[in-house]
């Protein structure tokens, strides 16, 4: 599937369709679900709409998840698995990310369904936007061309711009959307400009071709350096790494809670998929340059994120800063690269999915009609109001802080191991020292959760529905820590397709 120049354009052969559709099957599944959802939203009677769309979304995401798992297990992801003239792939790296996003989508739909009902929002639109964002993420995960990368990125972003402003009664939500929109558009322009320059330098948008062309001729072209710089800046923005992080706390805080939860995990994971594909695969021969850039970004993120988190009093905002710090940790794995580094990143992203989403999900149970109730004072005595939630929140916080034997610890262990092996010990040392700071604020959350209450306060009703979800994430946080090897093996298999091509 060599790239086609302007002169010789082969006709698309229908026989390829099955293969191509198969390669992006999870995306297709979610897209179909999205379409059904939109239609159902239009036709179903009003009181049923929300639940119906939620059900459809869950089902569709489950199908997507199943498809991805099936394809992975069938071994169809082991090769390059390119589709659509090399614009997409169904390789194991993509499949793993699709699994992650499908899972994230399911969790989000469940949590959001309960949340919007308590807050009195329209429901079906939120699910539709979630689905759209999931599509964008999956596209990013499976993109092998700069064009698809950009389109995935924009699909994801546009869906989230709207989702952030979903609470239209709330000035904070609006502010969040506006800020995200403007700064996101600004960053998109940078990414796009970088892509254009890389295209100019290599004559292709396809990552595999770019990689091989760079290796043969113009590795040091100023165009490529500029491309790395501009894309790197944009990518760093997307993973909310400092100093391109400043939107994160404001947007996270203003957005409705399930959106924040979804975004905190999903955007980050999708952006890392993108970084690894573009930098770790397409521009692998410019390693030193982008590694220097990302190392700077990683160090700044870990320091700034962790330091600023300690003065926060809103859980959402705190988790936003913690997310900045975590982006720094994960970047260590990206910088380290190789199978170890990429596997560690994949592992950590899954870990982050469960622990960070879980934390948000616990907080989401507190939401009432008038607000998200995400302030520390709202958490006061949570553990006595509901021991279940208290214990789960403790687990998530400990895992985020990197305490063994929870999954967060092993994630860090693998990332740091990759980093040290790649010679970035200084970065790892910064990471661990910053982690010490992080423990301070995670424990501050726990202090509030476990501070005895002067009087019993009941929890808002109607959170039964998501208790199962919470238990599930909690179980994963523990189980994937104690039995870390299988997930890590997934990570290694995901790294496999990126190592061979382009060299």
């Amino acid at each position: 599937m060599e790239l086609i120049g302007s002169a010789t354009l082969p006709a698309y052969q229908p026989a390829w369709a099955l293969n191509d559709l198969g390669a992006i099957a999870p995306i297709v599944a979610v897209t179909v679900t999205l379409l059904i959802g939109v239609v159902a939203d239009l036709v179903a009677p009003r009181p049923l709409r929300g639940r119906l769309v939620a059900g459809i979304s869950t089902l569709g995401l489950l199908v997507a998840l199943g498809t991805a798992v099936f394809r992975y297990l069938a071994g169809w992801g082991t090769g390059p698995a390119l589709a659509y003239f090399g614009f997409a792939t169904g390789d194991s790296f993509a499949l793993l990310f699709e699994m992650l996003f499908a899972t994230l989508g399911i969790l989000t739909v469940i949590v959001a369904s309960s949340y919007v009902r308590r807050r009195g929002f329209l429901e079906s639109e939120l699910h539709v936007l979630t689905l759209a964002a999931v599509i964008g993420m999956m596209v990013l995960g499976s993109a092998t061309s700069l064009v698809t990368v950009f389109l995935g990125l924009e699909t994801l972003s546009i869906a989230l711009y709207v989702a952030c402003g979903f609470n239209r009664r709330d000035r904070a939500s609006q502010e969040s959307a506006a800020k995200y929109l403007i700064i996101g558009g600004f960053a998109s322009a940078f990414v796009l400009y970088g892509m254009a320059l890389v295209y100019g330098a290599t004559g292709s948008t396809q990552l595999g071709v770019i990689a091989s062309r760079i290796s043969t001729d113009n590795a040091g072209s100023p165009l490529l350096l500029l491309g790395v710089l501009l894309m790197g800046v944009g990518f760093a923005f997307k993973v909310s790494a400092a100093p391109f992080h400043m939107w994160t706390p404001d947007v996270y805080q203003g957005a409705p809670l399930p959106v924040t939860a979804f975004m905190s995990v999903g955007t980050k994971a999708a952006a890392f998929a993108m970084i690894i594909r573009v930098f770790g695969y397409g521009l692998v021969h410019l390693g030193p340059e982008w590694q220097a850039l990302l190392a700077f970004v990683a160090a700044t993120s870990m320091i700034v994120g962790n330091l600023m988190a300690i003065v926060q009093s809103s859980v959402k905002r705190l988790l936003a800063y913690s997310g900045i710090a975590h982006a720094g940790y994960i970047l260590i794995g990206v910088i380290a690269g190789g199978s170890t580094g990429i596997a560690a990143v994949l592992f950590y992203l899954f870990a982050y999915l469960f622990m960070n989403f879980g934390a948000f999900a616990v907080v989401s149970t507190l939401a009432t009609r008038d607000s998200d109730r995400d302030d520390f004072s709202d958490l006061e005595g949570l553990a006595y109001r509901s021991p279940t939630l208290g214990v789960l929140m403790t687990l998530f916080m400990l895992s985020l802080a990197g305490f063994p034997p929870l999954v967060g610890f092993f994630g860090k262990l693998f990332l740091f191991t990759a980093g040290v092996q790649a010679g970035y010990t200084w970065l790892v040392v910064i990471a661990v020292l910053a982690s010490v700071v992080s423990v301070y604020y995670y424990f501050r959350v726990l202090v509030h959760v476990w501070t005895p209450l002067p009087e019993a306060r009941p929890l808002p009703a109607g959170i039964r529905g998501i208790q199962g979800t919470l238990w599930l994430t909690g179980t994963f946080v523990v189980a994937l820590g104690i039995v870390a090897a299988p997930l890590l093996q997934l990570g290694f298999s995901g790294a496999q397709p990126l190592l061979t091509a382009g060299r």
């Binding site: 596997a343 191991t417 982690s435 301070y440």
Partner: protein, 493 residues
């Protein structure tokens, strides 16, 4: 017998979870049963331990994370077997010492058992990652116990200070752990394998620092001790027994198990092996000096603990059999004495409502038996020959003397200061400050030590005598410890 080591950490871990779920009236019995079962298990291990066999016994080995060669590798040798027993014993005492009226008793006991599990794991683990898992695993219950059940104005501060301080160390150790994996060339976390693949001295210099910082904070070694007074003062007594009695030993244990075998030649800009013994000696003197200045009796004991831990570290860094075996003895001794002291302090506080030395006096006539027990424990604590602490101090100093006589002499100053602060404490509490002409009337009110408390102290006191008169019981399990280290020690000058 295979599997018994897993059982040793699993039993309290599972028991802890169970206790946390049980209703209040059942939880105490359950916890006692678990702790007692644990003690029996460890005693079985100690009993069937083959002292003629060098190397690890009861080994359990399985792959854990094969991609990074992380193994689930457990085993005990003479170094760890008695520490396991100590852990189980002190845990049992601590569980028994937990008053039934404790708030949220189920959670308290559950966390205590979890902490016991963590410490048991630390003493068993032979894989660096596994070790680290247990190492941090014991920290979390400790944090909650210290914070939620702590005494004083701001237990949260003490708890947080303790956790952050120790974490700063142990996270750096994590880098060290990874460094061992990456730089030793062995690409494994297995301690025994790593000991056979030592990286160059320059790398050891760095790795040593990373490991040492974790251990010196945990022990703690001067000047990394400032979390200790806060934490000990805030700690609730049953927790404090384990906290002071066992947890500090994990740091010293790790020095012997990991720090020295893996990085015996940490030479870069300077030689770390020469730095630590000096800090140890400074700690001996510093702890003793500050113990003199305290008004709070708990603080006196806390600072005395710093002084005592200095002997342990000094012995370890003497690089010879006497020093290191003495250090092991001293770990056990301190693990017996300090819980006893804190039990007594708690008993006094419970009866008088204060811990202020300036206020307390004349207790001996009111509680003669407690005075007697306190005296024995005091004597043990100040290193009276014939009681257990003397053995450890003698051996560590003997080791240190061979390493560098000046260090031993300086350390011996601690021996002189110990009676000063311990006797001031004891006499100040027990005796009068005035000079009446006649003996005080015996107090008839039942203020003396309770039968239950005495039962808790009795085994500890018995051990003080036993280990003082027959320390070979312990050291016969350690014939190899410290042998062949002289080469390293002689570098120091």
């Amino acid at each position: 017998m295979s599997g018994i080591l897993s059982l040793i950490w699993l039993l309290p871990a599972a028991g802890g979870v169970l206790c946390a779920l049980l209703p209040r009236r059942l939880t105490r019995v359950a916890a006692i049963l678990v702790a007692a079962g644990e003690l029996v298990l460890t005693l079985i291990v100690a009993y069937s331990f083959d002292s003629s066999h060098h190397g690890y016994q009861f080994v359990e080995q399985a792959t854990w994370v094969p991609q990074f060669n992380v193994g689930y590798h457990l085993g005990v040798d003479g170094l760890s077997v008695w520490l396991l027993v100590l852990n189980a014993l002190i845990a049992l005492v601590a569980v028994l010492a937990t008053p039934a009226r404790t708030a949220r008793l189920s959670s308290f006991l559950g966390l205590m058992l979890l902490m016991e599990a963590g410490m048991a794991g630390v003493f068993e683990a032979l894989d660096l990652v596994l070790f680290y898992v247990f190492w941090e695993g014991m920290l979390i219950p400790a944090y909650f116990l210290l914070w939620l059940w702590g005494e004083g104005d701001r237990p949260w501060y003490a708890a947080l200070k303790f956790v952050l301080y120790t974490l700063a160390g142990s996270l750096l150790m994590l880098v060290g752990v990874i460094g061992e994996y990456a730089f030793s060339g062995a690409h494994t976390f297995d301690i025994a394998t790593l000991a056979a693949h030592q990286p160059s001295p320059a790398i050891q210099f760095g790795l040593f620092f990373l490991f040492a910082i974790a251990f010196v904070v945990k022990v703690p070694v001067f000047p990394f001790h400032s979390w200790l007074p806060d934490a000990y003062l805030a700690a609730p007594t049953p927790f404090l027994l384990m906290f002071a009695g066992v947890m500090g030993k994990t740091g010293a244990y790790a020095m012997l198990r990991i720090l020295l075998p893996l990085n015996p030649q940490p030479e870069g800009w300077w030689n770390w092996n020469a730095v630590l013994p000096v800090l140890a000696v400074l700690g001996i003197i510093w702890g003793a000096l500050l113990a003199l200045a305290q008004r709070d009796i708990k603080a006196v004991v806390a600072y005395s603990s710093i002084s005592h831990m200095g002997f342990i570290v000094l012995g370890i860094f003497a690089f010879n059999a006497q020093g290191q075996q003495g250090a092991v003895l001293q770990m056990l001794n301190h693990g017996i004495i300090i819980p006893a002291l804190f039990l007594l302090v708690a008993g006094i506080q419970a009866r008088t409502g204060t811990r202020d030395r300036e206020v307390l006096s004349d207790l001996a006539p009111r509680m003669p038996v407690m005075a007697g027990v306190f005296l024995i424990v005091t004597m043990a604590a100040l290193g009276l020959p014939g009681l257990n602490s003397f053995v450890g101090e003698f051996m560590t100093l003997l080791g240190a003397w061979q390493f560098s006589p000046w260090l031993a002499v300086a350390g011996a100053i601690g021996l002189v200061l110990a009676p000063v602060y311990m006797l001031r404490l004891f006499q100040g509490l027990m005796y009068s400050r005035t000079q009446p002409a006649h003996a005080p009337e015996p107090v008839t009110k039942r203020t003396d030590i309770a039968r239950g408390e005495l039962a808790l102290l009795a085994p500890l006191v018995a051990l003080m005598f036993l280990l003082g008169l027959y320390p070979y019981l312990i050291t016969q399990f350690l014939p190899a410890l410290g042998q062949g280290m002289q080469v390293l020690g002689s570098r120091w000058s």
